[in-house]
Amino acid sequence: MNCNIFRKRLEDYVMGDIPSELKISLENHMDGCESCRAIYEEEIRIDASFKMALSIEGIEFNSSRTSIISAIDKNRYSKRTSNKILYNIKKYKNRYLSYAVAVIAMIVFIPMLLNNFNEGSYKTEGASENKMDIYKAEDKASNEASTENSTQDIAIADEKQEAIADKKADSKVIMNEENSPMEFKGTIVESKELPNYEIVWANSLNGEKSAAIDTIPEKDVDFGIHVIYVKDIKTNKIVKYEVIKDTQSTIKNIQWWDNEHLIVVTGFAYGSVSYGSDIYSLAVDTGKFSALYQVKDEKQQIVEVQKVKNDLILQLIIYEDDNYNISHKAVGKINILDLKKSTDMQIISEEKK
């Protein structure tokens, strides 16, 4: 053992906090090393003087035992169980309190968590349903596309998918709102601004006005937002009506109601599944649009509307399956007076397979 190790362990030695083997080797070192022994003696001297200075052996204290015993409440503790329980509760009151808090928290939070969980799962279900519908619709669209030998690319298919999803959302909004979200704008246009292809004009009953949609009649699949042109045959003034709000919807079909009003069928602009879902009237003089009817069932699509006396006769396509693959034609009827009552139309004839 060298002096460095000795000096490091000296404090432990003085404290008596040292294994006996080390103690012996420290003592052996001290016997041979004068300087280390001096250091040790110095430590011992300090210890002794502290002990001496703090020693109060000579002081005689008066025992206060009697007064302590007389001061205490002798009935404080007893062998009774109630007494034991009382002090047990007092001793562990914090623990019991934390248990109680934990239990209360569980009672309060578990139903909340469960509710959240249920809502969460409901949402997921809803989302997956929507997705299913989208896939179905997409399947349907692609089936049709293949039968029609149309050259639709993937981009269009994607667009359809999004559009169909949006439509679902939109249709919900429409159902919830009394007022139609669609707004129209009329602008006067020059005849040269008309489409370069031929459009089919339909004259009003008295032959003073003529109206047309800018669709290409030969094409079966018809995408896009369409506008109505209303032409005054005498002055040749053409007014263009277009949808300015809800740009997912378009004008599908028009028929003359009387000399001043057009019945306008609108529907979802994209995809071959959709024909029309809403009926508006357009006052051609004032350009005022007002909602007349909206189909409640998404599987019923309005192809055309005609006014026959006091009834609107609707030419319908009714889809039979969720995939929108099988459909049949039908005719619906609704009384003009019933339009504002939001009653459903009557199916007056159905073409069953």
């Binding site: 502290f50 002990k51 001496m52 000579g58 002081i59 015993i69 205490i72 002798k74 503790y77 001793k91």
Partner: protein, 186 residues
Amino acid sequence: MKVQEDSNLIQSILDGNIDSFNILVNKYEVIVLRFIYNMIKDKEAAEDITQEVFITIYNKLYLYDRNHKFLNWLLQVSKNKCIDYIRKYKRVYESNIEDIPNVISKEMSPEQTAEFKETKQNIEAYLNSLCEIDRQILIIRYMQNLTFNDLAEILEITESNVKRRYYKSRQNFKTFISQKEKGCKQ
């Protein structure tokens, strides 16, 4: 064995046996008195505080944790009572050597008595220069042969902290004494 005895006594007190408390007071009263006296250096106050400590101990006995030594708990309560007293009276620690005439042995020569007085004054001056915890560590350490672990329990600090403070205080004491001696020589 000692711990076992204390534990039995405490159980007996909690069962309503006052005699057991009497035994407990008898056993620890002197230790508490000396501890408190060393902390506040006032005989009368030490007696009062000791009485207070034992009454508190009795009233709070149901809170005693059997995993620890009873003496440690007792000294912890005593220490806290002393701190309360010191805070209350803002007492300055004065060494009053005349308080303890019996300390000086009759066999001591006048030179030895003078040296004893000087050492005692030095140590007390040093102790008073220390912070509260360091002072308590030294007092408890030299008064009772307690381990660092016991000190840690009583003072409610970690054992390594006790050790570090203890060795540092001793080291500083050596410096303090050597400076005093130098001062005397000059």
